[in-house]
């Protein structure tokens, strides 16, 4: 997927002016937030589970080489194949190679953010394969030729009416207008594709080191059909998605659904271990796991290692007021919201993503709901620090900071400047108590008045009162 993050501001302003987007985002996000809050309140051990999940993830990251090798051996022992991809290109080539070898024509896909990350669909389509997204949200945006705008609800930016339009154009009439009818229509169209598929590609919510299993959770069952009906099942997953045991998986399942969609559990939790065995009634003939690094190993042992705990639940963006205002597309790459504002600069570079760490009020609501306690505001601040050190932050900001520092380091000058400002601003405001315009402060006064000072600073008034 192309990176449009340099256009964040422009895309944000366009998004803010889009009433349909506002309507679509408002409804779904409120649902996620409220349902999560209800379920968390009903589970007294939820906070303890978050601690445990954080600790398990930290343990895995400290011993990632060990668990990845165990996983590799276990997959091989179960008759499957593990492929190691250093970057996006290697991941694409591995998957293209498998598809070519088995002479695939139709490829079905369950939802996989890693496949978005490595731009897989475009590569497959370029080689002439028919690629069908089977997650309803992914299917909708595939028809709309758009990237996902949310990591678990990729079409969250679409209203029901827009989906009706897309389906009518793609499937022919009669136009369906209720959610139930739209879902039924998608099911009927997709059903046929599952049976035709030569290769089924899914993501992996968890890779279990002890058994070599990959696990996906869905609400539609599309993942099951994608991976059991195709001749070949390919799992694409980041190297950090490993957990030691099935026991650990049960811990993560308890926090994932609650954090993501506000459900106690997702409707389908599907385990795949190797290809079909003799006597199995269904399952793929081949089972492949593509382990994608693509920048992750560079985060190990550094200031951003905590980010590798992420279980891709989307709670941070559901609770982020900036995401809620501008939606996911403004962020300009695969991962939006707070987690995306950390990952995108790390994966595609600081220069093209200058706005992302800054378009945040550091209000901390994301961290307060993160099921694995990732200190997202701290990581965003660290990215700002790196921007500052590398001279990427805007020159006007650097100059302003320089002036602020020069004055604030000198208490006498600082107080003089404040006394001056208090009088000047008070004078400009007259008796109104506020200013409507102020040179050099248009960022403030474009939308707000500036409440005026009272005329003297606190320090001078206090000092005068004491003497």
């Amino acid at each position: 997927m192309d990176v449009s993050s340099p256009r964040f501001k422009e895309k944000a302003v366009i998004a803010l002016a889009d009433p349909t987007l506002r309507q679509a985002l408002g409804q779904s996000r409120k649902g996620f937030v409220n349902k999560r809050a209800e379920l968390v309140a009903a589970l007294p051990e939820f906070e303890a589970l978050r601690d445990q999940a954080r600790d398990v993830k930290n343990h895995v990251l400290e011993n990632l080489d060990h668990y990845l090798e165990r996983f590799d051996s276990a997959v091989t022992a179960a008759g499957g194949h593990v492929h190691w991809a250093r970057d996006a290109e290697e991941a694409r080539n591995i998957i293209l190679g498998i598809c070519e070898r088995v002479q695939a024509r139709t490829i079905t896909k369950g939802k996989s953010m890693v496949s978005e990350e490595v731009n897989l669909n475009a590569a497959l389509e370029k080689r002439g394969y028919t690629v069908v997204e089977t997650d309803l949200g992914e299917y909708i945006i595939q028809l709309a030729k758009e990237p996902p705008s949310h990591i678990i609800a990729p079409a969250i930016h679409k209203t029901k009416e827009q989906v009706s339009d897309l389906f009518e154009a793609a499937h022919g009439g009669p136009r369906k207008t209720t959610v139930a009818d739209l879902v039924t229509e998608a099911r009927l169209v997709l059903r046929d594709k599952y049976f035709k598929a030569d290769v089924g590609i899914t993501g992996g919510n968890y890779l279990v080191a002890e058994t070599g299993s990959s696990i996906i959770v869905t609400n539609e069952g599309n993942g099951d059909l994608t991976q059991t009906l195709a001749k070949v099942h390919i799992v694409t997953s980041g190297i950090e998605r490993i957990v030691p045991t099935l026991e650990d998986v049960s811990l993560f399942l308890r926090i994932l659904a609650r954090s993501a969609t506000g459900q106690e559990t997702e409707t389908y939790t599907t385990l795949s271990t190797g290809p079909r065995r003799p006597g199995d009634v269904d399952g793929p003939e081949e089972f492949h796991v593509v382990l994608v690094d693509n920048g992750r190993s560079k985060m190990l042992g550094g200031k951003f290692q905590d980010m590798l705990r992420c279980i891709r639940c989307g709670a941070c963006m559901n609770h982020c007021p900036v995401y809620g205002a501008v939606g996911g597309h403004a962020y300009g790459w695969v991962y939006p919201g707070p987690m995306g504002s950390v990952l995108t600069p790390l994966f595609v570079g600081l220069d093209a993503t200058r706005d992302l760490p800054n378009a945040c009020t550091l209000n901390g609501r994301c961290q307060s709901v993160c099921p694995v306690r990732i200190p997202l505001p701290e990581l965003l601040r660290e990215l700002r620090h790196q921007q500052h050190q590398r001279g990427i932050s805007p020159p006007v900001q650097r100059r302003a900071l320089g002036v602020w520092r020069f004055v604030a380091e000198r208490p006498g000058l600082y107080q003089f400047a404040n006394r001056l400002a208090a009088r000047a601003l008070k004078g400009l405001s007259g008796r109104n108590g506020r200013l409507r315009h102020l040179p050099f402060a248009s960022g403030w006064t474009a939308l707000r008045d500036l409440p005026a000072p009272e005329g003297k600073t606190f320090l001078e008034l206090w000092h005068a009162r004491q003497t």
Partner: protein, 253 residues
């Protein structure tokens, strides 16, 4: 009597000295001796949040030196005081000389209302306010310092005051320091959402514990032509919320 150094936050010092006097009175009523060191400037948060950690460290050292002789440092802002409490020790993580001093100051640094209730044991104030108020939970105080029950406890003791909670009281108002001038359009949407929730309560007064948020919300209210009163919680608790509030001048009662 505990000796408290009052931290005069930048916005309070320049824009709203009455909040400083309200804080001083509340602290004195709680049995503290209040002093205001003249050598103080800014806590350094603008530098820290803009990624200029070096500038933040320089100012942090200034604050530590100025305030380390006091029993406590107290300020009428969750945002600035969270910087002292949480960020100073982090800034000096690798500095064997300054880290202990930063940590010692951090442990004695408090946001005003939580200091009054949690440290001084104040459960009621002697003040009256006629009106229905709603309270915005500023993010740094709420999530950084656990300021949630304290202002409500004290507001509950104000004679004549009725508190009506707004929906999404814990959602950011869109201020975010320099965020609001760097991304005015996004900030504008956030503050409009916040003010819609304020309006839904029917309250005639909006309160909060951080002047940044209050000036953002008051500034937007004034631009919209609203006369809804906006005060810092300390002003109400000290009985000093007698004027028209933030952003309304004497000329237009």
């Amino acid at each position: 009597m505990p000796r408290v150094g009052l931290f005069a936050t930048c916005l309070m010092n320049l824009f709203r000295p009455s909040v400083g006097f309200a804080a001083a009175q509340l602290l004195e009523d709680a049995g503290c001796t209040v002093e205001v060191p003249m050598a103080q400037t800014c806590c350094g948060q603008p530098g820290y949040n803009s990624g200029d950690f070096d500038a933040a460290r320089t100012l942090a050292k200034q604050v530590i030196t100025t305030f380390e002789g006091f029993d406590y440092v107290v300020g009428p802002s969750g945002s600035c005081m969270a910087t002292l409490r949480h960020d100073y020790p982090k800034l000096f993580e690798d500095d064997p000389e300054w880290h202990p001093r930063a940590a010692a100051l951090a442990a004695r640094s408090h946001e005003l209302l939580s200091f009054l209730t949690d440290v001084c044991g104040v459960t009621a104030v002697n003040a009256a306010y006629t009106g229905t108020v709603t309270y915005h939970d500023s993010c740094s105080g709420l999530r950084g310092l656990g300021v949630k029950a304290q202002p409500r406890l004290l507001l509950g003791s104000v004679e004549g005051l009725q508190l009506t909670e707004m929906p999404d009281a814990e959602v950011c108002c869109g201020f975010g320091g320099t965020f609001c001038v760097k991304y005015p359009e996004i900030s504008g949407r956030m503050v409009d959402d916040k003010l819609a929730n304020v309006a839904a309560t029917g309250a005639d007064t909006l309160l909060g514990g951080d002047l940044g948020c209050l000036m953002n919300m008051a500034g937007r209210l004034r631009r919209q032509g609203s006369k809804l009163k906006v005060f810092h919680t300390a002003e109400v608790l000290a009985g000093m919320a007698t004027g028209s509030g933030i952003g309304i001048g004497d000329g237009e009662h």
